[in-house]
């Protein structure tokens, strides 16, 4: 079972934060096919968050084919989100780590590295 966090200081809509946390848990293997997501009541009892927000997040995940609600059981995880398999992701992560090390050696602070990464990711959207 996973728990959710809510960052109210980010501009990311709360439902999207939950979607991202589930996707992330699936990517790294914290959640696996067949696992059950906490019910809305369980989530709400743990963190003060709007129940509709949790419903909306689960609906979004259902639309992506990652989870499925089953009557009487709850919301069941179906599989991993689209994207390369973990092995390939590990390779990509290793390559990025090399680059990050180069940037640090060149004298960049971590804040600046994150800002640069964001700028590049957003530049891609322009194309």
């Amino acid at each position: 079972m996973i728990t959710f966090r809510l960052n109210t200081h980010s501009g990311v809509p709360p439902y999207l934060q939950i979607v991202q946390q589930v996707r992330h848990a699936l990517q790294v293997g914290i959640l696996q096919a067949g696992d059950k997501l906490p019910t809305v009541k369980e989530v709400v009892a743990h963190v003060p968050i709007n129940p509709n927000t949790v419903f909306k997040a689960y609906r979004e995940l259902e639309g992506e084919g990652l989870v499925q609600p089953r009557a009487g059981i709850g919301t069941i995880v179906l599989g991993r989100p689209a994207g390369p398999p973990p092995a390939e992701q590990a390779v990509l992560a290793a390559e990025l780590a090399v680059w990050v090390q180069r940037a640090r050696t060149a004298g960049m602070h971590d804040d600046a590295i994150e800002a640069l990464l964001q700028a590049v990711v957003h530049r891609k959207e322009d194309v």
Binding site: T8, H9, P14, V44, V47, I49, N50, P51
Partner: protein
Amino acid sequence: MNKVQNAVQTDQLGKQYGSFWALKDCSITVPEGSISALVGPNGAGKTTLLKLLVGLNKPSAGSSMVLGKTPEQGVDFLSDVGYLAQEVPLYRQFSAQAHIAMGARLNSRWDAAYATKRLNDLRIPLDRSVAKLSGGQRAQVVLALALAKRPRLLLLDEPVAALDPLARVEFLSSLAQAVAEAEGSLTVLMSSHLLADLERVSDHVIILAEAKTQLCDSIDHVLQTHRLLVGPRTEERNDAYTVVQATHTGRQSTLMVRLNQPHFKDSHWQIHEPSIEEIVLAYMGQGQLEREMLVKGGTR
């Protein structure tokens, strides 16, 4: 798509005291099943609006529909509406149990077992006089009493203002659980000037400032349509957005904008995604700006 019903709908609602408008041109909707936050600075008209919605005030202008009816102080209307005024309405020498028993005599519909279970779950002593409970526990007693009525709409006026941070989180969690249990049949409209707490549990926000509605929308949509632009100083206008608040220094301009189109890119600006708190503050600041301009205009 399901048709979303509105638990509350007002049309240019206004309340005038003498020559002073405590609330003006207030047009809002509160979707059924939502937890809506009513935010605004002190004196923005939040309490006035809530009192109009529960029928404790008569409007001077406009109209409102609450659960499909015009608000009035009658049993037919009030049996579906719970209202918690700012002052915690408890008899200090009575225990929670005595309050529950009293509620049963005063209300046609009353779920005493539900109130008792809620308080037991929270480990709040039922037999102690409420004067001896902590502020957070008293707030939970009041909430349990309001919910025992099994209302379809709960209007809360500053329910967490007097509570410490932990008690606030517990209260809001308790409220969110009640809404989850009701599965869409309970709507909450809650006023506060404490933004950080409300944005956690609300899915809809209404901003009142200067006695007027500044914004009434779902929180997701508000976040999607607002951006903070930072760049070299400019007074230029752009059709792509509407400026909510602008701050200029000698060289730099910072704009809080509402986007008029879904995707906005402009190499002129650094574009940030603001938090709901930043957005709300910008709208409140806007009201203040207008007032300052009015004052200046008046003295000329």
